[in-house]
Symmetry: C2
Subunit: 216 residues, 2 copies
C-alpha cells in the first residue's frame, strides 16, 4: 500500500500505527504540510480536499479520512482486529475515537492555525491558548468516559488495542506538541504509555519519521 | 430507543434520520443547547462530554458521537443498510461522512461559537464569516469528491442512501442556517434535494422539531 502522510500529521500517525499493527507493507510519500504541499495540483488529484492522510491500495482510488482508512484496513486485513465484536462495545470504541477525530483534532490542524493567524490576526499567545484549550478539552472528554468505567481495561475497551487507543495516542502526542499539561488525564496517559510499549506505536511516532526535528 | 437531541443540532438530525429510515420507534428528549442544558449535572451523567446526541437502547449505557450511533444502528438494525457491502465503497462513504462530521461541522458548534464570542471577543460579522467559511469549505470538499466521480449516483454512492447522504443533508441544512451560498456545490445540493423527498429526511428536519422557530 502507499500512504500519503507527513511526520507532523497526527491523522497520518493513526494510519501508520494501524498498518504496522496489521503487518501491512507500505511506503509513505511525504506531503510537506509546513510548505503547503497538500495544496499542489498533483496532490489534489490524490485527495481533492487537500488534506492528509490518503491511502492507495493496489489499483483502487485513494481512500481518505483517517477513521475511514482505519475501518477499511480492519475490513480487508481483519487480524488483529481494531474493533471488538459486540455492537455496543464497537459503538463505545468508535465514540471515543470520534471524540478525538471529530471534536478535538480538527480544531488544531494547519488550516485552522492559518486562519487564526492570517484571517483573525491572532498573536502567537492567543493561538497557543486556542491549541491548548481544544487539545485539553478532547483529553478531558476522553478521561471522563474512561476513568471508572468498567469497560476500560488495559486499553480503552478491555485489554486489546482498538481504534480508540490509536486515536488517544495521537491526541496525547498532540498534547506534547502544544505543551498541554496531561496530569488531569491519568487514564488516557496510562493507556498512551501502554500503547507506546508496542513497536507499532513507537516506530510510527511523528518524531521518528523522516524530516522530523530531534524534539518538538 | 431514547434520543437526547435538540431541534437546532445538526448531529441530532443525522441520528433522527437514521432512526426513521430504519423504522425504529424512539422518543426524543430535548437538551436545550441555547440555554446550556448540555452542561447540567443530570445530562453529564448521560454524556460526560456534555454534547448531543446520545442514544439509549434498552438497558445499555448511552451511545455517543453521531457517526458511532449511526454505525451502531446499522449493525443492530441492518435493514435498510446505511453502508454498501464492498469495502472500498464503504470507505468512500465513511470518508465523505467524515468530511462533514470531522472536518466541517465541529467548527461551527455552540462551544466554538461561544469561544469566538467570549474568549476571542470577535464581533458578529467576524463570527459569521468564520461559520460561513468552514461550512463552505466542507461543501467544497464534498463537491470535489462527488462531481464527475463515477461512483456517485442518485445519492453519494450509487442509488441507495448511506451515511454520507445523511451527513450531506445535515451540512446543507447548516448552510441554510448560516446563509451560505450553495450554488457552487450543485452535486451536493442535488443529492440533498433527493434526500428531502424522503419522509425520513423531511420529518427529521431541524425546523420541523418541537421548539424550532418557523424559519431560521
Amino acid at each position: 500500500m502507499k500512504l500519503y502522510g507527513f511526520w507532523r500529521s497526527l491523522a497520518s500517525y493513526r494510519v501508520r500505527v494501524a498498518l504496522h499493527l496489521k503487518g501491512i507493507a507500505f511506503e509513505e510519500t511525504p506531503i510537506n504540510l509546513l510548505s503547503g504541499a497538500q495544496h499542489s495540483d498533483d496532490y489534489r488529484k490524490v485527495n481533492p480536499q487537500a488534506v492528509i492522510p490518503a491511502l492507495i491500495d493496489g489499483n483502487g482510488p485513494p481512500i481518505f479520512q483517517s477513521l475511514a482508512i482505519l475501518e477499511y484496513l480492519d475490513e480487508v486485513h481483519p487480524s488483529p482486529p481494531l474493533l471488538p465484536k459486540d455492537a455496543r462495545a464497537r459503538a463505545r470504541v468508535r465514540g471515543l475515537a470520534q471524540i478525538v477525530a471529530c471534536d478535538a483534532h480538527p480544531l488544531v490542524v494547519p488550516r485552522i492555525r492559518t486562519y487564526l493567524e492570517k484571517d483573525l490576526a491572532l498573536d502567537e499567545p492567543a493561538r497557543n491558548t486556542w491549541l491548548q484549550h481544544w487539545t485539553a478539552k478532547g483529553l478531558a472528554a476522553l478521561e471522563a468516559n474512561l476513568a471508572g468505567n468498567p469497560a476500560t481495561g488495559r486499553f480503552c475497551q478491555g485489554d486489546n488495542v482498538t481504534l480508540a487507543d490509536i486515536c488517544i495516542a495521537s491526541q496525547v502526542v498532540g498534547a506534547a506538541f502544544f505543551s498541554v499539561d496531561t496530569k488531569p488525564y491519568p487514564t488516557a496517559v496510562r493507556i498512551f504509555g501502554d500503547c507506546m510499549k508496542m513497536d507499532a506505536f513507537a516506530i510510527s511516532h511523528p518524531l521518528k519519521q523522516p524530516g522530523a526535528p530531534a524534539s518538538h
